[in-house]
């Protein structure tokens, strides 16, 4: 029994590594890279890694990754949130350096590319969560209020981020990108559903008392 659980645990880790590693490997093999400068390549991969981190976040906070305790999961979730904000900064700064007028168009929502506004919305939502998380203690946000703020922003990050990625024609290979995006959506829906269920159970038991 213990062995089975352990086996399942390592299987989840392997699956997670593949879900993130395979799209990165495909992108690293893209012929597009030959015609891009190092900063553009850095910006591209910061974006791909950000998408991978967005998959890890719901898995950590939902406790679906075997091993560490809930406390450790929460701490890791916070650190990865910081890494996600950093990846977004590198992504945007690198693209700004590569083509300033295109980035200005994107940031002012006047870009001809349909995916740009989704990317910019994702960026602001990531920054908002990062800022609020760093101020949470100072603001005295209790868990309920924190969730009330964080969950809608997390949904924006996931949905707008996924749309942004899917509409881009770039270094990512289509199928591995679509699979990663589908997993991000699935993990987010799972976390929300579990949270909803827990709340319903708590509501019931509170009503019974």
């Amino acid at each position: 029994m213990q062995g089975q659980v352990k086996g399942l645990g390592s299987l989840i880790w392997v699956a997670l590594a593949l879900a993130i590693g395979v799209p990165i490997a495909f992108a690293a093999a893209s012929e597009q890279l030959a015609w891009r400068g190092p900063i553009y390549i850095l910006a591209s991969f910061a974006g791909i890694i950000a998408l991978g981190l967005v998959l890890v976040q719901p898995l950590l906070i939902g406790g679906y990754l075997p091993g560490p305790s809930a406390y450790r999961n929460r701490r890791t979730h916070q650190w990865i949130g910081g890494a996600l904000a950093l990846a977004v900064v590198i992504h945007v700064a690198g693209l700004w350096f590569t083509s300033p007028p295109d980035m200005i168009d994107a940031l002012t929502f006047s870009s001809p590319t349909p995916f740009s506004p989704f990317g910019v919305i994702t960026m602001w939502a990531v920054f908002a969560v990062a800022l609020l998380a760093s101020l949470r203690r100072r603001l005295g946000l209790r868990l309920r209020l924190w969730r009330f703020v964080h969950i809608p922003l997390a949904i924006v990050i996931v949905v707008a981020g996924v749309v942004h990625c899917l509409l881009i024609e770039g270094t990512m290979e289509t199928i591995s990108k679509a699979v990663l995006c589908a997993l991000v959506l699935a993990a987010t829906i799972k976390v929300l559903a579990d949270l909803w269920r827990k709340r319903a159970v708590r509501g019931e038991s509170a009503a019974r008392q």
């Binding site: 015609w35 083509s99 007028p101 168009d105 001809p112 509409l167 881009i168 024609e169």
Partner: protein, 167 residues
């Protein structure tokens, strides 16, 4: 039998009216031509069209090593007359350079039919979309910047059409 006769009569009547209206329309447009501005609408600049534009790209036989064709037409707003000898500037992120680099830019002139065609290196996706840039900015007509998108990054040609209005 009656049906056939009826339909033939209808056909004749319809044909006659089409002919009459065609003649009337042609006569009307000929009469109104000098003051007419509502014919062929001028092309509007596209958003992002002017990005990484460099003023005064030289007229060239080919940009870089070529392999990709950018073509199109230049016509006058209103009557749609082809405009010969118009300078069109072309640039893109290609296999030979980024959008802002000088070697990615070139210009060509339209022929007597208002058509232009310039060979350039293969365009590749930049900022998530394979696209090219074209500009008319010689001053005689109002400046127009275009940013056509390729349906697929594998395509080896792209078209863009200008309808210019006096500056």
């Amino acid at each position: 039998m009656t049906i056939v006769v009826l339909s033939r009569r209808n056909l004749l009547a319809a044909g006659g009216s089409v002919l009459a209206s065609g003649v009337l329309a042609a006569g009307g447009s000929a009469l109104l031509l000098p003051a007419r501005a509502d014919g062929l609408a001028p092309t509007e600049s596209m958003t992002g069209g002017a990005n990484n534009y460099r003023k005064g790209a030289p007229v060239v036989d080919r940009i870089g090593k070529g392999g990709f064709w950018m073509s199109g037409t230049v016509r006058r707003a209103g009557d749609g007359a082809p405009l010969a000898g118009q300078r069109i500037q072309i640039w893109a992120h290609t296999v030979e350079g980024q959008e802002h680099e000088p070697q990615s830019h070139g210009a060509t002139l339209t022929d007597k039919d208002g058509a232009f065609r310039l060979e350039m290196p293969q365009i590749i996706p930049i900022f998530g979309q394979p696209h090219g840039h074209l500009a008319y900015d010689s001053g005689e007509f109002k400046t127009v910047f275009l940013r056509p998108i390729m349906r697929s990054a594998k395509e080896t040609s792209l078209e863009a059409h200008f309808v210019l209005q006096p500056a």
